[in-house]
């Protein structure tokens, strides 16, 4: 099977700071990739490169067998991006915002309207379709954001902490959605800190730390015959020391205050 995304020798640095170093990755169609790592590991930078937002990197990124750098518009039209923070023009209503986004993806009006209604209905937001989003809770905004990322039926869905701000029912819905999208043959690149969710939904887990891939495989391959949870594996591979000791030190530091 041909990989849908191929990353070769990907490097990125901001000034002196190296954010990504020699990333090599093959992602196959229909896979859910759990992309995890501590803060500042380079997850968001990878995501921004894959979505075409950042274009000054070194190395090669092939999507659908085409060089991303040379076919950025074609790739963008087939990728759906759902960022962590729901930054949207919230003076608009969901209907207006989705019409705007739909136009940027060159979708016909009737298709935008039809898909928007159906998707918002699934999120129980159809009743709010004509309300300005500045009155929405964080979870409601996140649902509109997810809708806007899936509106154009992307082949690859890139999610950066999509569960941020969602209530328990919505989290269950998203987990089910991930499986449904997988069934449809879509490839999902899923960044998260929520280890239990990543462990449950991912076919393959890529762990990145300090800009380099530390581990890459199924959860069973990462366990290496142990019974460790993903959280424990994560801690072992990324932590600079004993977390219990660090917590004790933190508490002790507060006791020293005058």
């Amino acid at each position: 099977m041909q990989p849908i995304i191929t990353i070769r020798q990907l490097n990125k640095q901001y000034g002196e700071k190296i954010v990504l170093r020699d990333i090599n990755l093959n992602i196959y169609p229909g896979q859910i990739i759990g992309y995890i790592g501590p803060n500042g590991a380079g997850k968001s930078t990878t995501v921004k490169i894959l979505t075409g937002i950042i274009q000054d990197y070194s190395g090669e990124v092939m999507v659908f067998g085409k060089n991303l750098r040379d076919n950025v518009l074609e790739v963008k039209s087939k990728v759906g991006y759902i960022p962590e923070v729901a930054e949207l023009y919230d003076l608009l209503t969901p209907r207006e915002y989705l019409a705007f986004i739909g136009k940027l993806y060159h979708l016909p009006d009737d298709v935008i309207e039809d898909r928007s209604r159906k998707m918002l209905d699934s999120f129980s937001l159809l009743g709010n379709i004509d309300q300005r989003m500045d009155s929405f809770s964080k979870g409601m905004r996140q649902k509109v954001l997810i809708t806007s990322g899936l509106l154009h039926k992307p082949s690859i869905v890139i999610m950066d902490e999509p569960l941020s701000g969602l209530d328990a029912n919505a989290v269950i819905l998203i987990k089910e959605l991930l499986q449904a999208l997988k069934q449809e043959g879509k490839t999902i690149f899923y960044c998260s800190h929520m280890m239990d969710v990543v462990e449950k939904v991912s076919d393959r887990i890529v762990l990145i730390n300090n800009g380099s891939i530390m581990a890459d495989g199924t959860i069973d391959e990462l366990r290496q015959n142990s019974t460790d949870s993903l959280e424990q594996i994560f801690q072992r591979l990324t932590s600079g020391g004993n977390q219990v000791q660090k917590a004790d030190d933190l508490a002790a530091a507060m006791n020293d205050r005058v």
């Binding site: 000034g15 979505t51 075409g52 937002i53 950042i54 274009q55 000054d56 518009l73 074609e74 963008k76 039209s77 990728v79 991006y81 960022p83 923070v85 930054e87 949207l88 023009y89 919230d90 003076l91 608009l92 209503t93 209907r95 207006e96 019409a99 705007f100 986004i101 136009k103 940027l104 993806y105 060159h106 009006d109 379709i129 004509d130 309300q131 300005r132 500045d134 009155s135 806007s148």
Partner: protein, 561 residues
């Protein structure tokens, strides 16, 4: 520079302490806010490019403020009575900085980040209110200082060192006055309005006040006899003694300058006492309510959480029909739609752009009536002159002002969407947004003006109306192509640029006048008018085409310039 200003405002620490502020916290808050101002985050579009040093930005701002200061210095030269001339001077300056405070600094005054960062900390209300006031004071003083420099030097030259030495004290008091006047009005609005309605009320209050102030600036020159300015006497305007700027002017009686309005020397005490009293009332008495009310208001553009919960926006399709009628590409349609919707709902946009609709008739009225003839005669002779051209070309201010604020938004971070969607040329979105503003704001206004012109000047002016419409669109399209190559609502608003924005809008008034002058020259030559029309049409087509072909590289280059 920040350190110097911080040092300056912390000099009367004992006074701040006596008002109930915690000095350590006050200094820490101010220090952090000033630091944040210097480190405004970059927009999304710039994230890939190193930030270019805005080396000359501050210098240009200082120079522009200084240039404006030369204009305000005028009363000092033409009016002999020092108290009167300084009263006029302080009136000008007080008006301008109050206007700035209302239009550009309300975001600083109501920094809603405080709600999440400072409100949960053990900081008392008085420290919070004082920190806000002093923060804005530093902003204002940065602008006022270069603006008053020419007057300061001129005072030293004309009157000697005593007058120059006295000048900074009333100047500082004037800044405090402006600050407290605006704050007091805000507090009254806060007291009367529900928190969720406060922002809308304040928004319309800002629009109305801007118009009133603008109108008063143009009526002020009536204070002195334009034919014999040296003979203007304050005795004809005895009511001035009730105006704070007179209290500032009368301070010069301390160094021996005569006071024409007998028995009013004592009012100079008010110049010092009035701001201090305002500060006392504001910080000591009203601070707790101020903080409480502020906490009831949500972030900058999101004021109606409770009230709007069930409010529905009609899902109208009129703007969509227009978007399809005026644009071919989907990107341009998207640009048209976002500009149409967002400009109706953004308070900051309304506040900046709506007053322009009033400025134009006011300015036109001012230009008409500044002649030596009476208003009645002026209007009856209006049809005989060529003031119609002036009016038609002045309509461009509406479009210029709308274009200037189209790219800015409190929600600039939402602009990430342009970068992750398959947008081939950002220029297409820009041209769509430009057309939306043209159709929504400029065209209806221009039609009103054209109707007035037709009524007064008759049918022969139809050709002039069409040529002016073309020229104004051409001029603003050129400006957009040169200065506004940014995506709509994708750039952060920066309060620091507030002063220069107002200066720019004043300076920009001259350029369409020049284009109108060309039109004026061709008035009696029909073939020249026709040639002008054809040339303008070709140029407009070329400029709009170039604007819509703005590439990502062009845009990023424009942003880093």
């Amino acid at each position: 520079m920040n350190k110097f200003f911080l040092f300056l405002v912390m000099l009367p620490s004992a006074l701040w302490r006596s008002l109930g502020a915690d000095i350590g916290q006050l200094r820490a808050i101010l220090n952090t806010k000033l630091l944040l101002d210097d480190r405004n985050p970059m927009t999304i579009g710039r994230m890939n490019k190193p930030k270019k040093e805005r080396k000359y930005g501050t210098l240009i701002n200082i120079f522009a403020s200084c240039a404006l200061g030369f204009v305000y210095m005028f009363p000092l030269i033409v009016v002999k009575d020092r108290v009167f001339s300084l009263t006029i001077y302080f009136s000008f300056l007080l008006t301008v900085i109050t206007l700035m405070l209302i239009t550009d600094f309300s975001n600083v005054l109501f920094d809603f980040r405080d709600k999440y960062i400072l409100f949960p900390r053990p900081v008392n209300d008085r420290t919070l209110v004082l920190a806000r006031l002093l923060h804005v004071f530093i902003y204002l003083f940065r602008i006022v200082l270069p603006m008053s420099l020419p007057t300061w030097i001129m005072l030293g030259y004309l009157d000697g060192w005593k007058s120059a030495a006295l000048f900074p004290l009333p100047l500082i008091m004037m800044v405090f006055m402006a600050l407290f006047i605006v704050n007091s009005v805000y507090l009254v609005v806060l007291k009367l309005a529900k928190p969720e309605k406060f922002k809308d009320i304040m928004n319309y209050f800002q629009v109305i006040t801007s118009v009133i102030f603008f109108t008063s600036v143009y009526l002020m020159p009536r204070f002195f006899n334009p034919e014999h300015p040296h003979e203007s006497s304050i005795l004809n305007y005895a009511w001035l003694k009730f105006v704070p700027s007179y209290w500032l002017g009368v301070c010069w009686s301390w160094i021996g300058y005569p006071v024409e309005l007998a028995g009013t020397s004592f009012l100079s005490i008010l110049a010092i006492v009035f701001p201090l009293l305002c500060m006392y009332v504001l910080v000591k008495k009203l601070a707790p309510e101020f903080s409480r009310k502020i906490s009831g208001i949500d972030a900058v553009e999101t004021g109606e959480v409770a009230a709007q919960g069930t409010k529905r926006v009609p899902a109208g399709s009129f703007y969509k029909k227009l978007a399809y009628a005026f644009n071919k590409s989907d990107d341009a349609k998207a640009g048209f739609m976002i500009a149409w919707l967002q400009t109706s709902r953004s308070r900051s946009f309304r506040m900046r752009v709506y007053p322009t609709f009033a400025y134009i008739p006011v300015y036109f009225f001012y230009l008409l009536t500044s002649r030596k003839t009476s208003i009645g005669i002026t209007f009856s002779n209006l049809g005989n002159g060529h003031m119609n051209l002036l009016l038609l070309y002045m309509s461009s201010f509406v479009l210029i002002s709308a274009m200037a604020y189209l790219t800015m938004s409190d929600q600039y971070k939402a602009g990430w969407i342009y970068y992750s969607t398959p947008v081939e040329k950002p220029g297409r979105i820009m041209i769509g947004a430009f057309k939306a503003l043209w159709v929504k704001y400029f065209l209806p206004f221009f039609i009103c003006i054209a109707a007035f012109v037709l009524y007064v000047w008759g049918m022969p002016s139809v050709i002039d109306i069409i040529l002016a419409l073309l020229n104004v669109t051409l001029f603003v399209a050129c400006m957009a192509r040169i200065s506004y190559r940014h995506l709509p609502f994708s750039i952060m608003e920066q309060a620091k640029q507030g002063g220069s924005r107002i200066l720019k809008s004043f300076i920009v008034m001259i350029i369409p006048t020049m284009l109108g002058a060309g039109h004026y020259l061709s008035l009696d030559l029909w073939w020249l008018k026709l040639l002008f029309f054809v040339l303008s049409a070709i140029l407009l087509w070329l400029v709009l085409d170039s604007y819509s072909n703005t590439s990502w590289d062009n845009m990023l280059k424009a942003e880093t310039e």
